[in-house]
């Protein structure tokens, strides 16, 4: 095998490759990347100015642990039952009061065929914020 051929094969590229073409391709690529970055920055600056603002800290929510759901529900229902377990004023000016549910059931049962009728008093007010405890 001639020595010249071995030397030719040992080269990474043929000696006749034009270096200027390689430089032009690499330079063009770098120019394209630079132009793309500049264009992107200009676009973000114009359309999404918040992209350059420092990010606000995101705090994780506290773990909503319920250690005793049954006890919580029992307490919650006891609070609600207190609303219809006793006597309390609702509107003293108009002589309206709250009565226990058992008594109210007896009143409704005593109405006979009119038990399903609408409750006559239509000027009801929203419930008080304190839960209406007597």
């Amino acid at each position: 095998m001639p020595v010249e051929e071995m030397g030719h094969r040992a080269l990474p590229q043929p000696a006749d490759v034009d270096n200027r073409v390689v430089l032009a391709v690499v330079g063009g690529f770098l120019l394209f990347v630079a132009a793309a970055i500049a264009g992107l920055l200009l676009f973000l600056n114009a359309q999404v100015p918040s992209a350059f603002l420092p990010r606000t800290e995101r705090r994780f929510p506290a773990p909503a642990l319920q250690t005793s759901p049954q006890a919580d529900l029992a307490r919650f229902e006891a609070e609600q039952q207190a609303r219809f377990s006793g006597y309390a004023w609702v509107d003293r000016d108009h002589n309206k009061a709250r009565i226990p549910i058992d008594q109210a059931m007896q009143l409704i049962a005593g109405r006979g065929p009119h038990a399903y009728d609408a409750i006559g008093d239509h000027d009801a007010q929203p419930p008080p914020a304190d839960g209406g405890k007597p």
């Binding site: 219809f84 009143l107 049962a109 038990a115 409750i119």
Partner: protein, 176 residues
């Protein structure tokens, strides 16, 4: 010779498989949605004849149309059913603040608002039957008679939360 006997013994369970009674799986019947010469329209899928109704439907329709008379037993039943089906959203006192609402579900209106105190009983019945807004139908869970019982109990709740002095004797003496 011994191997042959062993093989025969191993084959025996396979032969036993043919002894089963296949009368349940091999019946003289039509498959689902197959052609059927027995019927005039030629299909196995037959619809009920005109006028056919489900068992118990007439009784159910009667219960829907006619509210039962209200007594303490019906109200107690309504109270129990209300606690099971209604209170998770409407709250035990009917203010629309049940436990589900505490967890973020949209709050239903209060039964003590002017609109619902003046609402007809049939309105409540229709809402329980067909649902309303975020509330789905409870027709499959609550029988018509129980719906009426719940409505009677809602009236008792409304009465409880706003009663006129003239309706209860000596009420003033019991108030703080």
């Amino acid at each position: 010779m011994t191997i042959r006997r062993l093989l025969c013994l191993m084959m025996l369970p396979a032969a036993l498989g043919g002894c089963g009674d296949h009368s349940m799986t091999q019946q003289n019947r039509y498959g689902t949605f197959t052609k059927a010469a027995l019927f005039r329209d030629g299909t196995e899928a037959q619809v009920p004849p005109k006028g056919a109704i489900a068992q118990g439907e007439l009784d159910r329709a009667r219960q829907v149309a006619t509210p039962p008379p209200v007594d303490m037993a019906l109200l107690a039943r309504g109270r129990e059913r209300f606690g099971i089906y209604c209170s998770p959203c409407h709250g035990l006192s009917g203010h629309g603040d049940g436990m589900i609402v505490q967890r973020g579900f949209p709050a239903p209106p209060s039964f003590h608002s002017s609109r619902l105190r003046a609402a007809d009983a049939r309105h409540f019945f229709d809402v329980i039957t067909n649902g309303y807004g975020a509330m789905y139908s409870y027709a499959a869970r609550v029988e018509p008679r129980d719906r009426w019982a719940i409505i009677a109990y809602i009236r008792a709740l409304q009465q409880s939360q706003r009663t006129d002095m003239t309706e209860v004797p000596q009420l003033r003496s019991k108030l703080p």
